[in-house]
């Protein structure tokens, strides 16, 4: 699974993307956030405020209960501020 981070979440995790072999216990977006939060303090900080975390799975906005599979691309980012 390809994981991507944008904006200040990227700065907290220290990487713009990483590869992850999807753990068996991770079934949904919410599970994945729990899992990634244990990877490093930076990851925990980036994903700390669940209300602020926006998630896209395969380029489409996803909800906490969106199911995941190992070939998905999952992106984490803060609320957008373009325009």
């Amino acid at each position: 699974m390809r994981i991507r981070y944008f904006a200040w979440m990227r700065e907290h995790t220290g990487c713009s993307e990483e590869q992850l072999a999807l753990p068996a216990a991770v079934l949904t977006v919410s599970d994945l956030i729990d899992h990634l939060s244990s990877v490093s303090d930076g990851h925990a900080l980036a994903l700390k405020n669940r209300k602020t975390v926006r998630v896209a799975v395969n380029l489409t906005f996803a909800a906490p209960d969106t199911p995941l599979c190992d070939t998905d691309e999952v992106a984490f980012f803060p609320p957008v501020t373009g325009g």
Binding site: A7, L59, V80, T81, G82, G83
Partner: protein, 152 residues
């Protein structure tokens, strides 16, 4: 009327020319053209702005903007929709965004243009980092931008 509406999306570091974009809208063959241009501005309050850097999620940005344009074309009878959005480091007075719509009816052109800007502000994956005389910081999303969606 998605089929009849010409949709033109561009995202990149290069500047766009609002005049050229308006000219494209004219050629769509309907009489009412609405446009919005957003420009980098010093907000007057707080430290002086040096630059704004726009980060985005390249693979998602264009498809997301196209979805927003298609929603507008589904809801109003439009001749054309143009969205241009810049990324990278921008200076005060630089263009950030252009949205233009054309329709046979002025209300449809206005509403579609405002609708696209409102959705772009909340659903297109861009993030602004501000560089001021007192350091850099990521700009916070505005609650008013979420509120703006409620009217559609």
């Amino acid at each position: 009327m998605i089929a009849a509406c010409k949709i033109d999306i561009s995202v990149g570091e290069d500047d766009f020319d609002s005049a050229v974009e308006l000219e494209k809208l004219r050629s769509a063959g309907v009489g009412a053209i609405a446009s919005f241009t957003g420009i980098v501005r010093d907000e007057a309050t707080g430290p002086a702005l040096i630059a704004l850097t726009l980060e985005h999620y390249p693979e998602m940005t264009t498809s997301q903007l196209r979805k927003i344009a298609e929603q507008a074309a589904d809801r109003w009878q439009l001749g054309a929709v143009i969205i241009c959005h810049r990324v990278g480091r921008l200076l005060p007075e630089d263009n950030i965004v252009f949205v233009g719509t054309s329709s046979a009816h002025r209300k449809a052109a206005f509403d579609a243009c405002a609708f696209i800007m409102d959705y772009l502000k909340t659903e297109a994956p861009f993030w602004k980092k501000e560089e001021t005389t007192q350091g850099t910081r990521w700009i916070d999303a505005r609650i008013s931008d979420d509120e703006a969606l409620k009217k559609w």
